[in-house]
């Protein structure tokens, strides 16, 4: 790092219940520089950022902000000191306007006799200025619920600028953004740097970190492994440092090949405004990828296939038998499993134990007829076997699901479905937000499922993983299938072109 530091951490340490989350981390953030912070889940990135952001207090060590001692006791104190933390789940209110979200904590006010009311003219004027700084070309009175995820993120940045933040922390900012929105965010981050702000950028997408950061810091097991200028950290080296051992491959080899039998078939599926004329067949032993940009209708298609949403035309067949419309129960009975992109909200009971979560979907099967009582012993043995087979890292089967890392939570979701012995797996962004090592394991599981005669519908916006793992890729754009590529014809550029409809008329 060159130039003076704005924030210096010295020997910061934090333990939760005796387990070191952060140990002896010393790190400097340069003025007007972008620090890329990388590490696997559980490496201590969040804890470290929470210490800087005033959410938790360190057990040891000191911080200097602009040369002065800095020890925030609350998020409010940190933000007054000029540190803005943009969380992965945005802190915005959908029932308020853009301007109200920006000024929520300190509205410009005007006195009317004994009362002081919000000065709407000043709010609008100042909001417009802030929105133009983040190049969001919308009236400040626009209700927030009309904004896309990317636009909301810009509002959050505008709020940070309003607080005159000197250091802005981004935690996985691009997970729900379109390619275009990501580009816009990167341009904005670069402009923030030009304006002398410092940025700490946390992401699992290492290509983004490599493109954006001036400096890189790698954390592993709570300790700082190495930090320095970006030039010293090619992506392969970042991965080696993060994982602690060289990984020759990011993806396991595909071991089995698809068979001729059709498992799941969609015939001219259509739903007004959602998808149109979608037809494809998923074969036994096949990993079929679905690629598309944000809003292409991939998740919507998955929900229709699984029977969560209705379709107006066409039909869905499983092993030749037609599925009744909009019945998730019928889908589960005919052997479809749905692993959603939103495991926190839809896939898991976060306060339930690992064993309870695994047993959830198969409870009727585990119950002792005829009274349908649940026998704890059978649940535990079934859950234990799967936890071992999938290599779920947990303190015990009785640990709450929320105590697990993202990758292990995803394995719990998989285990839950495996207990129902499905043949068709619909996976919607199964590797989103999980680290390199856990991704590798998920890919291996997918390969094994296909090898055992299952069919996997693998929906992802990370083209690299689809190219590596799938036998065939379908490309969706605006609700339609606009391209199909067999493994022999995989080509990054052509798949992307199809997704952007550059090739299509």
């Amino acid at each position: 790092m060159s130039g003076p530091a704005i924030l210096t951490l010295a020997a910061i340490a934090k333990a939760f219940a005796g387990i070191h989350a952060v140990r002896d981390v010393s790190l400097a953030v340069g003025r007007g520089r972008i620090l890329g912070l990388v590490g696997e889940n559980g490496a201590g990135k969040s804890t470290l950022m929470n210490i800087i952001g005033g959410v938790v207090r360190p057990d040891g060590g000191t911080m200097l902000l602009d040369g002065a001692p800095y020890a925030p006791a609350s998020p409010g104190e940190a933000s007054r000191a000029g540190i803005a933390f943009i969380h992965q789940e945005l802190n915005l209110f959908s029932n308020l306007t853009i301007a109200e979200n920006i000024f929520l904590n300190d509205f410009p006010q005007r006195r009317f006799g004994p009362f002081s009311l919000i000065d709407r003219a000043a709010v609008a004027r100042q909001a417009r200025a802030l929105l133009s700084e983040v190049s969001l070309d919308l009236p400040p009175e626009t209700p927030l619920d009309r904004l896309s995820p990317g636009e909301r993120q810009l509002v959050e940045v505008a709020r940070a600028l309003r607080l005159d933040a000197r250091i802005i922390i981004f935690d996985e900012p691009t997970t729900s953004l379109t390619a275009r929105e990501t580009e816009r965010l990167f341009a904005l981050v670069a402009r923030l740097r030009e304006a002398g702000k410092s940025v700490i950028y946390i992401s699992h997408i290492l290509t983004d970190v490599a493109a954006l950061a001036d400096d890189i810091a790698v954390l592993r097991d709570g300790a700082l492994i190495e930090a320095g200028a970006k030039a010293q950290f090619p992506i392969a080296r970042m991965i080696t440092l993060m994982v602690g051992r060289p990984i020759d491959q990011l993806y396991p080899p595909r071991k089995s090949a698809p068979q001729a039998a059709v498992l799941l078939e969609a015939i001219s599926l259509g739903a007004t405004g959602i998808i149109r004329d979608v037809s494809f067949a998923l074969h036994r032993g096949e990993v079929l990828g679905i690629f598309g940009l944000m809003g292409a209708g991939r998740t919507e298609l998955a929900r229709i296939l699984f029977g969560l949403d209705s379709h107006e035309t066409g039909e869905i067949r499983v092993e030749g038998r037609r599925l009744p419309a909009r019945s998730a129960r019928a889908s589960i009975r005919s052997g479809i499993a749905f692993i959603t992109e939103n495991r926190r909200e839809e896939g898991l009971l976060m306060n339930g134990t690992v064993a309870e979560n695994i047993a959830l979907a198969a409870l009727p099967r585990l119950a002792i007829t005829p009274a349908e009582l649940i026998e704890q012993g059978r649940i535990r043995s079934a859950a234990g076997a799967l936890a071992e087979a999938l290599n779920i890292k947990t303190a015990s089967l009785d640990a709450p699901a929320k105590s697990l890392s993202g990758g292990n939570q995803q394995k719990v979701v998989l285990a839950k479905w495996l207990l129902c012995r499905p043949s068709v797996f619909i996976m919607d962004e199964p590797t989103r937000g999980i680290d390199v090592g856990a991704k590798y394991e998920i890919y291996s599981i997918i390969d094994r499922l296909a090898g055992a005669g299952g069919g996997v519908l693998f929906i992802s916006s990370e083209l690299e993983e689809l190219l590596a793992v799938c036998d065939r890729i379908l490309v969706m754009s605006r609700g339609e299938i606009v391209g199909e590529f067999a493994r022999a014809g995989f080509d990054r550029g052509r798949v992307l072109a199809a997704a952007f409809r550059e090739a299509a008329a």
Partner: protein, 348 residues
């Protein structure tokens, strides 16, 4: 094309469901009963609605935070009793004495609300259970103190209840003032806007540095104050406190707030909604008398109106969900090949 028009019209209808039902009911009774639209009857409906309406404004504050206050009817009773006992004192039966009695009644209501608030904010008990308990406790307290004897109010006080300012009855004037003040607080003060944020997502509001506890505390005090105001003005009109005073009022009040478009799940609602809701309920009740609906069937008719309004509200919720889903694709103009998005929304 037709579909777009249909979407716009139905969207408009759903957004303004409360106002439209209001107009339909108004026009129907106006045509069906000769004297329904007379100035006298209209004023009477508004006057009758103002007692419920004032309390519904306070309830709107509570509902906006996704809370609920079941104790408003009981609070009316306690506050009215406080006024009644003070005004039994011979020295307080003049003008200033009445004023002092009213202030004491309102203070009692605010204190009642503060007890609710303290249990909810500091003891972290669910608002539903806290206010259910204080509803029973409040009624029990008055029964214990009055030994279930009725209480009469001096003439100086009841004449205040029947008085008018510039031809507008006092209860209506108070209602108007409360609505105006609530509207300004909700739309033009940081407190009001933060209230909506808390109702939308309390956890996010806390993370954003909003003093959520202070806000939640305040809304129950406001609701208590409004309940007392409704109770004091109503008892001034009635003139005699008996055991049924305020019983079941919480349901009228919540009904009025919800009919006016306030969501039970927080974050959605306005002060004017309380006006529309309370007047609508009163209008239906008065109208049924005019068109001579069987007395025993009247509750069923009122139930039907409530059902229709709530049903529209739930349709609106489902539709907004759908619109949001479609909006994902309306983001398209920034992306290449933008025109395709519209094509799908309106298939040729």
């Amino acid at each position: 094309m037709n579909r777009a028009l249909y979407d716009r019209v139905s969207g408009y209808l759903l957004r303004h469901a409360a106002a439209i039902i209001f107009i339909v009911v108004f026009v129907y009774f106006g045509l069906a009963a000769d004297n329904f639209l007379s100035a006298e009857n209209s004023l009477n409906i508004i006057k009758q609605a103002s007692f419920t309406g004032v309390i519904a404004v306070g309830m709107t504050f509570v509902l906006l935070t996704a809370g609920i206050d079941l104790s408003v009817g009981s609070n009316m009773y306690v506050s009215a009793m406080t006024v009644g006992y003070l005004l039994q004192i011979p020295g307080l039966q003049g003008g200033f004495g009445v004023l002092a009695g009213i202030v004491a009644g309102l203070a009692t209501g605010a204190l009642f609300g503060a007890i609710n608030a303290a249990c909810i904010v500091y003891l972290r008990i669910t608002p539903f259970l806290v206010t259910l308990a204080t509803m029973v406790a409040g009624h029990g307290l008055v029964t214990a103190i009055t030994q279930s004897f009725g209480l009469d109010y001096p003439a100086a006080f009841t004449s205040f209840g029947a008085a008018s300012i510039l031809g507008i009855p006092i209860p209506v004037a108070i209602f108007a003032a409360v609505v105006a003040a609530a509207h300004i607080v909700l739309t033009r003060t940081p407190f009001g806007r933060q209230l909506y944020a808390v109702g939308n997502d309390a956890e996010a509001a806390r993370k954003a540095g909003i003093a959520t506890d202070r806000i939640i505390f305040s809304v129950y005090v406001i609701s208590g104050l409004c309940a007392a105001l409704g109770g004091v003005t109503l008892i001034a009109l009635v003139g005699r406190l008996n055991q049924t005073f305020g019983v079941g009022k919480e349901f009228d009040v919540i009904t009025a707030a919800v009919l006016g478009g306030t969501s039970l799940f927080g974050g959605v609602g306005t002060a004017f909604g309380a006006v529309i809701g309370s007047v609508l309920v009163q209008m239906v009740q008065a109208g049924m008398v005019f068109v001579k609906v069987n007395l025993y069937l009247q509750p069923m008719v009122l139930a039907a109106v409530i059902f229709i309004a709530v049903f529209f509200d739930s349709l609106r919720g489902a539709r907004l969900e759908k619109l949001k889903r479609r909006f994902i694709r309306m983001d398209a103009p920034n992306e290449p090949g933008a025109s395709a998005g519209k094509e799908i929304a309106n298939p040729p």
